[in-house]
């Protein structure tokens, strides 16, 4: 139920993103590609954190599982990249359900702490080279590019557009989500879990649903991430990274698509711009985070509810 004005804005947004790489130098294409990938991960984090209201501070696990699935299947078992994609989506789903099921009932901060715990165990396992396939602290280098039929996604621009496509796909899914019964159920259980139960919402099921869906999207983002760097390493999926995704959602505006995109821009691209102030920039950044929260406690671009069809108010 997107109105025409919003459709127009999104059109402009994507037009800009489409022509952007033709005006950028290659390091900025690289930055923007990572921006697109991080946007996808942040949007998926938002499903759990913003929409379903669960304080998940271990989202990098699912991102990392996707990335590592692709890298391991390609490098250790010689699969073509295309064939690894389903695994890179399904494995995070399974993991998310297994991890979340026992802790889904926990209150906010307790869930946060537990997910931090999961994330630390996850990176530790990667570093300890579990099953001898994760490449230990080095990670895995030299992953092949994606080949679909005869097209090879090797150049920087092609990966940029791949990432852009994934972002589009994610936005479509999230738009579908927020205008459907499952998506609304997430908001209801977030705002009042007990009231939701009492009108027949299986809150446990939808919480797991949120985890599974977001893990799937994060896993897919992981594939593109692996392709961008043709490498994976544990550091890219550690708990600090989860903190970044968590912060992006809250700074941008939970449940708000433009908010999360702006959040990713602010938390990832802006620091890249201020590289010349290397030493001081994170200090300034910390101050900015505090100030944003004081001035806009619900994020830079807070969510607006009221996505209802016009026909129900008119004759």
């Amino acid at each position: 139920m997107m109105n025409t004005k919003n459709a127009l804005y999104y059109g402009i947004f994507f037009l800009v993103l489409t022509v952007l790489p033709f005006f950028l130098t290659s390091n900025w294409i690289s930055v923007m590609t990572t921006f697109l990938i991080y946007s996808v991960v942040s949007l998926s984090q938002d499903i759990v954190l913003g929409r379903a209201g669960m304080f998940d501070m271990g989202h990098a696990i699912f991102f990392g599982l996707g990335a590592y699935s692709t890298a391991i299947l390609n490098m250790v078992y010689g699969w073509p990249i295309v064939a690894t994609i389903p695994v890179a989506i399904i494995l995070p789903i399974i993991a998310s359900i297994l991890l979340a099921a026992p802790i889904i009932h926990l209150r906010g901060d307790y869930l946060l702490v537990t997910t931090i715990g999961f994330n630390i165990v996850f990176t530790q396992a990667l570093k300890n080279n579990v099953f001898g396939i994760t490449g230990g602290p080095n990670g895995i280098f030299g992953v092949e590019p994606l080949k679909i039929f005869s097209i090879t996604f090797a150049s920087q621009k092609s990966i940029y557009f791949l990432a852009l496509f994934i972002l589009l796909l994610t936005l479509a899914i999230i738009h579908n989500l927020e205008t459907s019964k499952p998506g609304r159920a997430l908001h209801y259980l977030n705002l009042d879990s007990l009231a939701s139960e009492c009108i027949g919402i299986n809150t446990r099921f939808y919480r797991l649903y949120a985890f599974a869906l977001s893990a799937a999207i994060a896993g897919l983002a992981g594939v593109v991430f692996t392709l961008q760097f043709s490498a994976v390493s544990p550091g890219a999926f550690n708990f600090i990274q989860s903190v970044l995704f968590f912060t992006i959602v809250l700074v941008g505006g939970p449940s708000s698509i433009p908010g999360v995109l702006l959040g990713t821009f602010f938390m990832f691209v802006v620091p890249e711009m201020f590289r010349q102030f290397a030493e001081a920039r994170y200090l300034v950044f910390g101050v900015a985070m505090i100030l944003i929260m004081i001035w806009r406690p619900k994020g830079i671009w807070p969510v607006k509810f009221g996505r209802i069809p016009n026909y129900i108010t008119k004759e």
Partner: protein, 299 residues
């Protein structure tokens, strides 16, 4: 047997430091229901402040007086840091959504950590070798140093003092009241702001003692060490039951000992991971920690 006892001593030493830092997390959480992510960095900051004071006064004062003055002034300065932190990053957000305060806390953590790096540089700073005389006792193969004994004794004394303060004084009672229901406490005429500031003062001062111990016992301090100590202490607070003061003490000690035994008897490669596995198990089966109480939601 010596090995077992030695591991116990190892665990108790680091455990006392965790406990001191954990108290800061747990007290703030008790009153504000906020995970003060900047607390670990405040502890790191205190270690740097302590070093500066120590270097300024070394040679001027007698060793005992030097240590005393260093402790007191570092505690005071860190407490002021805690007050500033509360004023700047948390008070404006008291009525905002809970998560906004979490982001603010993360921001504050970044500010302190990078602030330390800008002031003192990225290289580790090192405490002078023998602030406390380097005396090592050999008890039938179990080694314990004078510094370790000091760490244990001072921690214990401070914790008992805190326990008495919270349970026997008017301000302590007010603090407990605020932890249960802030609005009700305010209606009963308790100055909630004052209680919150007190919480930060005490938490930061205890953290400062932890920071000084880190400096004096482990000697090397780095600008980013706040994360690792903070996270461990935070886990300790959770294990004990966050918001619960004896819980934080118990949690810190247990975590220290658990860590030591895991490294000692299972595998050091997995000790960190297993610490968090323990945390996860506790969260699943007893989410409110060992000493925490179950809270039922009012319908």
């Amino acid at each position: 047997m010596e090995i077992f006892l030695q591991q116990l001593v190892n665990g108790l030493t680091i455990g006392s430091i965790y406990a001191l830092v954990a108290l800061g997390y747990t007290m703030v959480y008790g009153v504000l229901k906020l995970i003060n992510f900047a607390h670990g960095d405040l502890v790191a900051l205190s270690a740097y402040i302590g070093l500066v004071i120590l270097m300024q006064l070394a040679g001027v004062l007698s060793p005992a007086l030097l240590i005393l003055i260093t402790f007191i002034s570092t505690m005071v300065i860190t407490a002021i840091g805690g007050i500033v932190l509360e004023r700047a990053a948390y008070r404006p957000l008291r009525r905002a959504p809970r998560l906004s305060a979490v982001v603010s806390a993360l921001g504050a953590s970044m500010v302190i950590e990078n602030g330390i790096m800008l002031i003192w540089g990225p290289m580790p700073k090192i405490y002078p070798a023998s602030v406390v005389p380097n005396i090592n006792f050999d008890l039938h193969g179990v080694y314990i140093s004078l510094m370790q004994i000091l760490v244990l004794v001072i921690s214990l004394v401070l914790m008992v003092a805190l326990y008495l303060f919270v349970n026997r004084t008017k301000l302590g009672t007010a603090m407990r009241a605020c932890a249960i229901d802030q609005d009700a406490a305010r209606l009963m005429g308790i100055d909630v702001d004052k209680v919150i500031v007190t919480t930060f003062v005490i938490g930061s001062a205890l953290g400062a003692v932890g920071g000084l111990f880190i400096g004096m016992y482990y000697r090397g301090i780095t600008f980013n060490m706040g994360w690792i100590y903070g996270l461990n202490a935070f886990v300790a607070a959770i294990i004990g039951g966050i918001g619960n003061i004896p819980g934080a003490m118990l949690g810190g000690m247990l975590l220290g000992i658990f860590n030591a035994f895991i490294s000692g008897y299972i595998s050091s490669s997995w000790s960190m991971a297993l610490t968090y596995v323990l945390l996860i198990i506790i969260m699943i089966f007893r989410p409110t920690g060992i000493l925490g109480e179950r809270v039922a939601e009012k319908v």
